[in-house]
Amino acid sequence: MEVLESGVGEFRMPDPDGFREYVRTHKERRLVNKVINEKEAISRLVEDGDYLAYDQNVAVRGPTSLFREIIRQRKKDLWIAAKFTWTDATLLVAGGCVSKIDVGWMAAGKVINTAVRKGEVKLIEWSNGALAHRHLAGSMGVPFLPLRYLVGTDTFTQSGAKVIEDPYTEQRICLVPALYPDVAIIHVHQCDVYGNARVMGAGVAPMEIAMSSKKLIISTEEIIDIEAIRRQPQRTTIPYYFVDAVVVAPFGCYPGSTPGLYGGDIEHWLEFMAAEMQGKTDEYLEKWVYSVASHEEMLEKRVGQEKLDSLKAAETVKEGYYE
């Protein structure tokens, strides 16, 4: 088939058969307890050079405790998909963990700008929808999917998309390559010890990301019994066999919000933004990441129970989540 146009952006060659082989030889099919702590989960499942995917909606339900552990363990050379994201890409770049970013949307201040200009981080252009579509292709086990946008733009030119003549309609159609991340981290409201996980509220693409990633770490606000899962199977977002590790992390997306449970900590975000503007992200990382051994210790020593209680009290909307 003739390719009419190609973007110049780098992408990993989709390998559906490689993915299938990995699943065949590596993924646990039995119902086994997968609960481990964050330190073990990140050291065992995130490797330098991995493609890392995650699901969040700006400041909502991002796996921030796992981001901090990745930074604490000084992981290197990660390639991340920044769609619908916010300061997470900045944090991971400030921590020296990232070398490539597939961009949909991210907060891009001083840290990202400096890293891009110095050539320390390479950006590849997509859009939120195109990246979600690439995860969708991955979740279907196919090498690509067609879509009807990106075309005609410089975004297309800087992406890894292609335009072909559709063999059915004979019109031009854009193709995006499937994304099969090495590892994904997803924060959820509830999960059982086997990994059956519930995301409540509008997600971005939690199911597609979970399905298309070789390794998957779930962090969860709480562990619930499998009997609760079986009573309401329709509420399950991700079934157990996709999941490699379950990390118990109440307030696991602090300073973001887990909807229905707690609001975001605006003072914390402002502290982060001020640190970035003043070139003090090192001090921020020292205080919130390096100087504490774990998420638990950060909550206890840096955030405090009073603040946590106020964030819970601020989240008055329960309807649709827990009611």
Partner: protein
């Protein structure tokens, strides 16, 4: 001395777009920011039943006002939706032709309504200022029937040549350019809204055309804030400045704390004459 009314350019844009919202249409909006606020203002004041889909997958919510200081897709802005999906499903609703209008903001726009939200100055590899990327703009601007685009009227934004074309308008303006590129037929930018002027596009040439301006502006003043010269409608309508009621709702209910709306340039007008105060 008579009393003054003060507002930011962002607030003016939100009020103007809110006035364009139609209750019998469906809107596709990005996750946060001023375009979403325009729908929320319309919903609060005039069109309580208007349907809208937020990019991350919330379908026609009934937000719980006042929204938190950082709205950002939180539970209050998704409250009492009719459905919660994810991004791919929301996107497919636009691909199917259900979204009448897309609402977006941009950094730069050219005379055919192509726009930039990626970087300003320098080159792609060495940008002077890199921004967060297009977000959902390519899919919204390509797949909604009509796109409403907001930006600020100033010559560094209305440019002859974009630093980067993140998302498509009418491309080179030739008939069928979008369809030839591979986008759905009969779509494209509909209006460009700024704090002091509104533009649409000529049906034949797809060139931007001035159709309305604030009472304190002249055509010459509008042109002085643009790098290129737009077409001028036979009759340039008069835009209405924001009202006290609109501003109160924006500041108290929609963006309390002003993290989005107070960032812009402050404009003061004389309440009696409607002219810009000195």
């Amino acid at each position: 001395m008579s009393e003054q009314l003060t507002f930011t350019d962002v607030e003016a844009n939100i009020c103007t777009i809110a006035g364009l919202i139609e209750e019998d249409k469906l809107y596709f909006v990005q996750m946060a920011g001023a375009p979403l606020m325009a729908v929320l203002l319309a919903k609060y004041m005039r069109t309580p039943e208007v349907g809208y889909v937020v990019e991350e997958g919330a379908v026609t919510p009934s937000p719980s006002f006042p929204l938190p200081r950082m709205m950002l897709g939180a539970s209050r802005s998704h409250h009492r939706a009719v459905a919660w999906y994810g991004m791919n499903i929301a996107d497919s609703h636009a691909a199917l032709g259900f979204m009448d209008y897309g609402l977006l903001a941009c950094l730069q726009v050219d005379k055919f309504g192509n726009f930039n939200s990626t970087f300003i100055g320098g080159t792609y590899e060495q940008p002077e200022r890199r921004f967060g990327g297009p977000g959902g703009a390519p899919e919204i601007a390509s797949q909604c029937w009509r796109t409403l685009l907001m930006t600020k009227l100033e010559s560094r934004k209305f440019v002859n040549k974009l630093d980067f074309m993140s998302s498509p308008g009418y491309l080179d303006g030739t008939p069928g350019a979008r369809e030839r590129a591979g986008m759905p037929a009969n779509t494209g930018p509909y209006k460009i809204i700024t704090q002091e002027a509104v533009f649409d596009f000529d049906e034949e040439t797809h060139q931007m055309r001035l159709i309305a301006m604030m009472p304190w502006m002249t055509v010459e003043q509008v042109l002085s804030k643009m790098e290129f010269e737009p077409l001028i409608a036979d009759k340039v309508e008069r835009m209405e400045p924001p009202t006290d009621e609109e501003l109160t709702i924006i500041r108290a209910q929609i963006d309390p704390g002003g993290l989005t709306v107070s960032r812009g340039e402050w404009i003061a007008i004389d309440r009696e004459t409607g002219q810009r105060a000195q």
